[in-house]
Symmetry: C2
Subunit: 223 residues, 2 copies
């Protein structure tokens, strides 16, 4: 399967909040749930997306926006799942905002989709500062990164609705305390849902899929 590549270098820092609200309303009208997935480089966004698509592609019409600074590696992996993909080339920029996302949604034909997932740029800082217009924000923290990350990148944990603690299959190699990490995340954001998973072995993915389906159902039932 092929995918389109879009270059989005402009409009950074302009009219961000307003556009995010407009975009959110448009997504609401179109009945399209948009998930913004964020993490550090290499925490497992793409592999989590592949597992999520496999679990949901028979239930929902899905599309994916892959934000990447330069390469199309992840877009190629996602396109193998059979869902629609657009590649958003940020041209070195470290985040996406609603303007950029908007262009991607148009290219993806999002108004005919039930679920759009945005794989944001691998970065725990800048993407947290920009509202993409997404219905829900999700983040992945992987076990090798350490359980102190909520203390060091607080904004990211504060703005996310769900935290996936990934690579729990590698737990024996690292000194990571899930309880401590959860406590630190919840101190910043009492409502955050924390789900330990392994995108590699599939452990915990059922709970993640259940959470996502529940959020999509809730989004639709509000109409």
């Amino acid at each position: 399967m092929d995918f389109r590549v879009i270059d989005i270098k402009q409009q950074v820092y302009e009219g961000v909040a307003d556009d995010a609200q407009t975009l959110r309303k448009q997504l609401y009208s179109a009945d399209t749930f948009m998930l913004n997935l964020m993490s550090s480089p290499g925490a497992g966004k793409t592999s989590t997306l592949v597992k999520t698509i496999d679990a949901l592609k028979r239930k929902f019409r899905i599309g994916v926006m892959e934000a990447d600074i330069d390469s199309d590696l992840d877009a190629r992996i996602i396109s193998n799942t059979g869902v629609g993909v657009v590649q958003l080339h940020t041209g070195g920029k470290c985040h996406l905002n609603a303007n950029m996302t908007h262009r991607g949604l148009i290219a993806l034909g999002a108004n005919k989709l039930d679920l759009v997932m945005l794989e944001n740029v691998g970065n725990l800082i800048c993407p947290a500062e920009f509202d993409t217009g997404a219905t829900r924000n999700a983040m992945i923290l992987s076990v090798p990164e350490g359980d102190d990350k909520p203390l060091k990148y607080p904004l990211m944990f504060a703005i996310c609705d769900v935290l996936l603690i990934n690579k729990i299959d590698a737990m024996q190699c690292f000194d990571f305390d899930i309880g401590q990490c959860t406590k630190r995340a919840k101190k910043l954001n009492p409502n955050i849902k924390v789900i330990p998973v392994s995108a590699k072995t599939g452990e915990g993915m059922d709970e993640w899929i259940k959470w996502l389906r529940c959020e999509i159902r809730r989004f639709r039932s509000k109409k």
Copy 2:
């Protein structure tokens, strides 16, 4: 041991290149070698610094600048090694430039030091775009992040003089090809020195220390 905290929110994107050159000249005049250490969150910058300080603190007068968005966790860890530390609070900003670094060097009293190490913000994107004025740029890529990272964050690999591949003690948990990663990094930057290490077990640290000492010697012999 105590450390100072400096807030540096302003002067972003202003006069960056010029100031970096000026700063580099000042460091050269003062005989102070400055290392800029960059990586993703949780790749092992602080633990690598601790091991480096332990190996070199009897040879050199060392100081450390800890750039952190918000917390002082790393500065506290470094201050336990007994060397001077200043904490640079970036106030949410995702990188350091030469202006910010300059303020840190003054606070650290860098003109009386042989070696200053800057632990940059945990981010593979933005710090690569700003010249801090450092004598050498070093980066850490940790095994769990994956050997595809040179393809996805090319600028960081292109601007670094040395790449430490950290967490090789956890190699059995991950599918990471050191040869492939080295090849990808060298394609972007043929002169990059690649050193596999484990800041946890100490493996490979001798080669890293040897490289660093050699660079410091070279820096001084050019005078």
